[in-house]
């Protein structure tokens, strides 16, 4: 038994309904989340990430498979018996209770003495910097403050695992950035395992120790933000995380011949036949001089620090390049330019 594992989901599947109308929310997902880890489940809406979270919380019972918490099977335990707490997307604060009563709710239900509850409430409210709001009602607080109350309420009983269901999606950009670093700080201070659900890839990349990318009820890839961004294993992951150019080609003589007829010396691991190359816009450089390949600029978008050029290659396929705006050479739509691809950084995907 590996004692470093907080949550171990084995072959978890969830099907809603039955017969012809059945909907598979989760196919067959296995995942191990380490203790003290900031783990993010990332995917578009409807990919099953929230269903998996609800199975861990106990709000849903998986149709198949099992979920273990620190080695104990909790698959069929009701939510109120799991040392797991949730921060809800809608916050779900109790409107008839004060901030302090909300935060103390979990401990009170577990039968803690009133003095211990009060002490824990003070400590956690200090942690989220809401000491002065203890006696307010939730509707007297701003969205950001309500968010912090929801967080405090879930942290107060000191759960083994904290589940966060898109908790930042209702906040504006500035507040969201603040809360992102706030969450990182809280996670570091409490040492609690965080499982964070989001559809925002930037949020996932900046906050997580590891990310699990999900699509259509399946877990496609698990890895560090670097792994996921630099070495996507599927076209979906490469497309979903950041911007990516896709070029079709086929393996020839340890290189890949793309549609323009050019050969690229990309890193191959025994692939043969048709492949897809995933090329990040920052790996494409543009020069006015002759280069490996050439193309025509069809669109230029100034983005502040960068400029995005869309280049039409000889065979008509588009390629987006991201060039730092401070670079001396600038190009206009219609210019014919030399194009070079940093082949070593290209990711080869099975077609």
């Amino acid at each position: 038994m590996n004692t470093d594992i907080a949550i171990d989901a084995r072959n978890v599947g969830k099907i809603y309904g039955s017969g012809a109308g059945a909907v598979t929310a989760l196919g067959d997902v296995s995942i191990s989340i380490k203790k003290g880890e900031f783990f993010t489940l990332l995917g578009p809406s409807g990919c099953g990430k929230t269903t998996l979270l609800r199975c861990i919380a106990g709000f849903e019972t998986p149709t198949k498979g099992s979920i273990h918490l620190s080695g104990t099977d909790i698959t069929y335990d009701p939510p109120y018996q799991r040392p797991v707490n949730t921060v809800f997307q809608s916050y779900a604060l109790f409107p008839h209770l004060t901030v302090a009563q909300n935060v103390g709710f979990g401990l009170k239900m577990r039968g803690a003495a009133a003095a211990d509850v009060a002490q824990a409430v003070d400590r956690v409210l200090a942690l989220v910097k809401l000491e002065d709001f203890a006696n307010r009602l939730p509707q007297q607080l701003s969205g950001g403050q309500q968010q912090r109350v929801a967080l405090a309420r879930a942290l107060a009983p000191e759960p083994q695992v904290l589940l966060l269901d898109e908790p930042l999606s209702a906040l504006d950009l500035k507040l969201r950035k603040e809360m992102q670093s706030e969450l990182k700080r809280l996670q570091a201070e409490t040492g609690i395992t965080f499982i964070f659900v989001t559809h925002d890839q930037e949020e996932a990349l900046t906050m997580s120790d590891r990310i699990g990318v999900m699509s259509a009820g399946a877990l496609l890839q698990v890895g560090t933000p670097h792994d996921i961004y630099d070495r996507p294993t599927t076209r979906f992951v490469a497309d979903f995380i950041g911007e990516t150019n896709f070029l079709e080609g086929s393996v020839e003589d340890h290189q890949v011949r793309i549609g323009t007829g050019d050969l690229l010396a990309v890193p191959l691991e025994g692939e043969t036949g048709p492949v897809t190359l995933a090329i990040r816009p920052e790996q494409v450089s543009v020069t006015s001089a002759q280069a490996d390949m050439s193309g025509k600029i069809t669109d230029a978008t100034y983005m502040g620090t960068d400029t995005h050029y869309t280049i039409e290659l000889k065979d008509g396929s588009p390629l987006v390049a991201r060039i730092q705006s401070k670079s001396t050479a600038t190009f206009d739509v219609g210019d014919t330019v030399g194009v070079a691809i940093d082949a070593r950084a290209v990711q080869v995907l099975k077609s």
Binding site: A57, G58, F59, P78, P79, Y80, Q81, V84, N85, T86, F88, S90, A92, F94, P95, H96, F105, G106, M109, R110, R153, A154, P157
Partner: protein
């Protein structure tokens, strides 16, 4: 006409006339009743000067005092019992998935609204008389039970409406925070449901207070409620005493209905 306007009933010919006529027909008798409750004379339709005499007569009439007390006892018990049952029924029909027989359950709960009251009254009369023979008991229990039964749908509807409007994430959050189903009900569902429960109880109270038909059939000798007492007075000469009792009943009803509106509006 270039633009099409939204249909507005107030622009139809005769709207004002019909509206005023409707209000007059609805309220003129009641206003007359209230005015004659202050009549100094002995008639319910001949004015003999302003007086509070009939209120004093009613208040000092022992039969009225008894009937009032009985009405209130029955109404309190019936509203408590029917609201408790209605709350359970509302939880059962809203806090779980769709189930087979759901429509049948709705029909059963709302049965008193649909079955002709006189049928229920006759059925209860026959049923309770055999129970009376079997047990020997002839107290107020029969009336309380009968009132509780027909009050259930009136208590059920506002409670169900409130439950359906409530965010179930609250209950999920409570369960997530270690509250057992019973604790979730006690600390989250019930406090949030309270306006609906109070509204349901008030409605049940008024419905019980006002009931004539079922009461008339179920009551034993000497168990007159205020409405059946007034009905009994019809057989004798009517005095403005009946107006005074009616006006008092009307005032109580208006008071409770006003509270009902406030309770359902607040925190809604």
């Amino acid at each position: 006409m270039g633009k099409t306007r939204a249909f507005d009933v107030t622009t139809l010919p005769g709207f004002t006339f019909i509206a005023i006529l409707a209000f007059v027909l609805l309220y003129a008798p009641i206003v007359t009743l209230v005015i004659y409750s202050f009549n100094g004379g002995n008639s319910v339709n001949q004015w003999g000067g302003f007086s509070l005499e009939w209120y004093a007569v009613a208040a000092q009439n022992e039969a009225v005092q008894d009937a009032t007390a009985r009405s209130l006892i029955i109404a309190v018990w019936a509203s408590v019992i029917s609201t408790a049952l209605a709350t359970m029924a509302a939880l059962g029909t809203t806090r779980r998935g769709k189930f087979t027989g759901q429509t049948v359950i709705y029909v059963i709960i709302n049965q008193p609204l649909m079955v002709p009251e006189i049928v229920t009254a006759v059925a209860l009369l026959i049923f309770f008389s055999s129970v009376k023979v079997a047990t020997g008991y002839s107290g107020l229990g029969y009336l309380i039970l009968a009132h509780s039964a027909f009050c259930i749908p009136f208590a059920y509807l506002p409670i169900k409406a409130r439950l359906e409007g409530m965010d179930t994430t609250m209950e999920t959050a409570a369960a997530d925070l270690y509250a057992t189903p019973l604790q979730t009900f006690r600390y989250v569902t019930l406090p949030l449901l309270l306006p609906g429960v109070i509204a349901g109880a008030m409605l049940a109270f008024i419905i019980s207070l006002d009931n004539v038909i079922i009461t008339e059939f179920v009551k034993s000798a000497g168990q007159d409620t205020l409405p059946t007492y007034m009905l009994g007075q019809l057989r004798r000469a009517l005095t403005p005493e009946v107006n005074a009792i009616s006006t008092a009943l009307l005032a109580l009803t208006i008071l409770i209905l006003t509270l009902f509106v406030f309770v359902t509006k607040k925190r809604g």
